[in-house]
Amino acid sequence: MAWQFNSNRPIYQQIVDEIEMRILNGTYEMGMRLPSVRDLAVMAAVNPNTMQRALAELEEMGLVTTQRNTGRTVTTDETSVSRARDSKADLLVETFMMQMKALGLSRKEVLDRLAKGEPKEGEHAVNS
């Protein structure tokens, strides 16, 4: 199944996000060997050069490492994974708060709402 991409950001960035997410949520376990660039490109139905670029970016972020013989693997370095998780979470929170602000909710109102827990059934979540 080809991956879904939206139209306003470069595809390699969206691939970085997708693979990062898979690493953070454990779909790609730590130390796991990644498929080859070509296979990943076919899976995502994207240009192999684009996939290459995304993987280079992930390497720079420390989430993926390249060994001479084994190809690319997910990092075994816990700190880089948790660092990535932190910054991702920060980013999501920041985006979320901005959207809430745009809705006209104060910081306190947002926190109250969060404390109340998950939205109940029937209430629809606003999707960006």
Binding site: P10, A41, A45, V46
Partner: protein, 232 residues
Amino acid sequence: MQSILEVRALSKRYGSTLALNNVDLTLPKGKIIGLLGPNGSGKTTLLKIVAGLLTPTNGIVLVDNQPVGEGTKALISYLPERTYLPDWMTVDDCLDYFADFYADFDMARAREMLTRLNVPANKRMKQLSKGTREKMQLVLVMSRRAKLYLLDEPIGGVDPATRDYILDTIIGNYDNEATILISTHLIADVEKVLDEFLFLKEGVITMHDTTDNVRETQGKSLDELFREVFRC
């Protein structure tokens, strides 16, 4: 960066119509490039000139620094819009033909792809459906280790499943030394696989950029940009 294709002041006239108007173009090695434009914008004409099937009215075409001829034909793997394999040839005959003339033809790869397509080796071309023949041609073309692939509307007029098969085949056989030039008017389907694109409008190249750059600077997809540029 080294270029695989250099086009200088290229024009092609059919009678009173100018199919290509003073085209200048340099394509780098190792990229998948979209040749995008509406029907009749000159895409096929450009590809046919590079493949050596049409004589230009004016201008210079260099493939890997050689003028179009015997030498460049060995470097180019060309997929025309039409089915060109003789009716009476069997699948094996076609493989034999390509293996005989193209030193870069990878027989094992071709056979493997045909097996996956369930095309029996002893079938004649006329016994195959039009769709299967088109896939067969794609397999032959992509089984070569060419330096420049020219694919003319490979996904035009096919169903979505076949479209996926064709794009998979192109991506799966691409090696990053080669350059693939894909002509199409179906932008949304190919834009994920394109490094660069050319907009061709009435025989003139109006834009040549990277796909990433369009998204980064304009925040829109190629498809959206195309619709704006070519709005009727």
